[in-house]
């Protein structure tokens, strides 16, 4: 998805890169933050995204991208120094608090985030949102999960199939 870029070789400490969302909004962020994305990392290492030409991200809209970048900027310092070793307990607690609030969002936004994290391959964000969804599933009955996750109401055939399955997997509900 990342278009090939002409390398400008500028590897300054606070190098900025420009990301362009699907609706043509430009976001300028530090290269370190954007590098949390495995997808972008290589492009950035090649010197792309600097100067006037940005990296187009056709799969991510601006609302989601701003959310993703919020996460990246917050987590970039921790990721830069290798995460745990230098981070104090306070830092970690702060990050955790941020993460908790970060995923406290509407479900549609959450799915956009999942898709974006998946496309951009941001490991931490992927886990974060996956955990959030897992929390939504945890300890619920199938119907509750369906409702929570916004499944359409089951058709009669589906309902029958579910019932049959419930019988088969009754042991998982003990």
């Amino acid at each position: 998805m990342a278009a090939p870029e002409s390398g400008d070789g500028n590897n300054g400490a606070a190098r900025m890169v420009t990301l362009i969302s699907s609706d043509n909004t430009r976001f300028e962020v530090e290269a370190a933050a954007a590098s949390l994305s495995q997808t972008l990392q290589l492009t950035i290492l090649d010197g792309g995204g600097g100067g006037g030409d940005g990296i187009p991200l056709p799969n991510v809209d601006s609302a989601t991208l701003s959310k993703v970048l919020e996460y990246c900027i917050k987590h970039a310092p921790a990721a830069a120094n290798g995460g745990a070793p230098n981070a104090t307990a306070v830092d970690r607690a702060e990050l955790e608090r941020f993460d908790n609030e970060f995923v406290n969002i509407d479900q549609s936004v959450l799915y956009s985030l999942i898709m974006a994290a998946h496309n951009l391959e941001i490991e931490g964000l992927q886990s974060l949102v996956a955990k959030k969804v897992a929390d939504m599933i945890k300890g619920k009955s199938p119907m509750e999960i369906r409702r929570t996750l916004g499944f359409p109401d089951p058709t009669p055939e589906e309902q029958a199939e579910m019932n049959a399955h419930m019988l088969e997997y009754g042991w998982a509900y003990e």
Partner: protein
């Protein structure tokens, strides 16, 4: 138009990833959700079995796992799971658990976290995970400490049967509150496994083995008290061995070990038992070595003369007492302050140590007591024994540390504190032991066999001990170590010169002044000979004096001309 079910159309791997954060039970339950969810859980990179530690819960898990096995046996799913038998020693006789395997490579790749992330946790937590996410679903790396709170010791404990774990993709294995029987920890069939955490477990395995393992953390676990668990982890980088009971492990060499943290009970790692009490040499290459062992323990082990483990100890007579007082000859003379300082420093907290009785002997011979400080000393205190490139070999052999019996055979002896010169170091060792070993006449034959059969084996151990203490001292008492190294440097130089001299003249130096660095060694303090007559000038004029008693080994073995 019905609501759009957005989660079901997520790309491959996303749902699997989500399920990996659930308990196995919750993950399996998603199979009922819809047709598209039927087999998602089977591809999940991680399957967590979580339950309480009580009887009922163990039974529930066992039951659950049995059913999983059924499903698998019926062929309902392709083979992403590999069964591992799980026996519960409290309620149900047995069950089978499956380890998470990320299935096909494609699935592993789709799981997109890392190339093949896979965690299999067996965390019996006290609280059911439904209550809050804190127990295990918290941040993976940060919550290691939190988790311990949720695990508690109980008599009911899950058992993992003697069945090897075979999985290609497992990277991290966490076990808590389970009992592992022999064979389970033979993880050589898990080529991807990097991290193993064991907490609150009962380990009755004879061997922990995994070529690929990088990080091992064993906390608060119980090892067998009947034998040493062998640990064969050549690729290990960090080792944490915290508060484990039972016998210490036998660690095989770990070339890349950088961090070793050992917090242990007295009896396990540095105990009075010389075999049991050795700090494994494998640890000493760690760049960061943290030991938390009481000081008096260290002192005690310091005075352990490993070599005498196999030999009888006798009540010291008056003469022996006198004789043994000169055991610390190098330190006692010339650098006496260093010698005594070392003893004090190491024995600072072990004030009672001086009265410690030494009770060791070979199994065939009666065990008797001797004061610790009256033991004889045959231990390599010199660099030449274990540090390369200190001394050139005298007889044209390659330069090499003398660490085997064969080396000792070729190494010429030099005048010892009694002025005796043995043919080679071999004779010196045997002779020294012999003196110590002078027991009642009825044990003579046994004693002789002991001395000649066991010594060769002991040399290696002795070198080990010397290396051990060299490094221990460097870490614990750097100043003393420095001083000793300096002193040994001088000694080594002088030794080298003396060998040259002996080679050219074919005789030991007759005048100790010739090699001033060896002076304290060549001229021991006055002591009483076994015959009871004071011997004033052994070092100077009596170097090749005849042995005082008839059964001394150097007497019965011809010296090379």
């Amino acid at each position: 138009m019905a609501k759009i079910d957005r989660i079901s159309i997520l790309p491959n791997g996303v749902r699997e990833h989500i399920l990996s954060f659930l308990t196995a039970q919750d993950a399996v339950r998603t199979t009922v959700l819809a047709r598209r969810w039927r087999d998602v859980w089977t591809r999940s990179p991680s399957l967590r079995f979580i339950g309480d530690m009580d009887r009922e819960s163990v039974g529930r898990i066992s039951n659950f796992v049995d059913h999983l096995l059924d499903v698998r046996l019926r062929g309902a799913f392709p083979a992403p799971w590999i069964p591992v038998r799980l026996t519960s020693i409290c309620s149900t006789p047995s069950a089978t658990i499956w380890t998470g395997k990320t299935g096909t490579k494609a699935a592993a790749k789709c799981c997109f976290v890392s190339s093949a992330m896979s965690i299999w946790s067996l965390w019996p937590t006290r609280r059911r995970s439904t209550g809050g996410s804190s127990a295990w679903c918290a941040h993976e790396s940060a919550s290691a400490c939190d988790r311990i709170d949720h695990i508690y010791r109980d008599h009911s404990i899950l058992g993992l049967a003697d069945q090897r774990l075979v999985t290609e993709h497992l990277i991290q294995l966490e076990l808590a509150g389970v009992r592992m029987f022999d064979g389970f920890l033979d993880l050589s069939r898990c080529p991807a496994l990097l991290e193993l955490k064991i907490e609150n477990c009962l380990v009755t395995a004879e061997k922990i083995q995994c070529p690929s393992l990088r990080h091992l953390s064993i906390i608060d676990s119980n090892f067998s008290s009947g034998y040493h668990t062998k640990v064969s982890l050549p690729g290990l980088i960090t080792l944490r061995w915290i508060q484990c009971s039972g016998m210490a492990p036998l660690l095989e060499p770990m070339q890349s070990l950088t961090t070793a943290i050992v917090t242990s009970e007295l009896t396990s790692w540095l105990s009075e038992d010389p075999v049991d009490g050795m700090l494994p040499y494998a640890l000493l290459d760690a760049t960061e070595l943290k030991l938390s062992v009481p000081r008096d323990m260290i002192r005690y082990s310091k005075t352990t003369v490993f070599i005498f483990y196999f030999f009888a100890v006798h009540e010291s007579s008056e003469q022996e007492e006198q004789q043994q007082q000169s055991e610390e000859v190098p330190f006692a003379h010339g650098l006496d302050k260093v010698g005594s300082g070392e003893e004090e420093a190491l024995g600072a907290s072990g004030s009672g140590g001086l009265q410690t009785m030494w009770q060791r002997g070979p199994p065939q011979l009666p065990k008797r007591l001797i004061l610790v400080e009256k033991r004889p000393l045959v231990r390599p205190t010199w660099k030449k024994f274990f540090v390369q490139e200190t001394l050139p070999w005298p007889f044209g052999m390659n330069q090499e540390p003398a660490y085997t019996w064969e080396h000792y055979k070729h190494f010429p002896d030099f005048p010892d504190r009694e002025g005796r010169v043995f043919a080679t170091l071999v004779y010196w060792v045997v002779g020294e032991l012999w003196d110590f070993f002078r027991v009642e006449p009825e044990y003579m034959e046994q004693a002789r066999n002991q001395a000649y059969n066991t010594c060769p084996k002991l040399i290696t151990d002795m070198i080990y001990e010397a290396q051990l203490w060299d490094k221990m001292e460097a870490k614990l008492e750097p100043k003393i170590h420095e001083e000793r190294l300096r002193w040994e440097g001088i000694m080594a130089q002088q030794m080298s010169a003396m060998f040259t001299y002996m080679q050219s003249t074919g005789a030991p130096p007759l005048h100790p002044g010739l090699f001033p660095g060896l002076h304290p060694f060549l001229v021991p303090p006055p002591y009483v000979t076994p015959q009871g007559t004071p011997n004033q000038s052994v070092g100077s004029n009596n170097l090749t004096t005849s042995p005082p008693n008839a059964w001394s080994p150097w007497h019965t073995h011809p010296r090379p001309s």
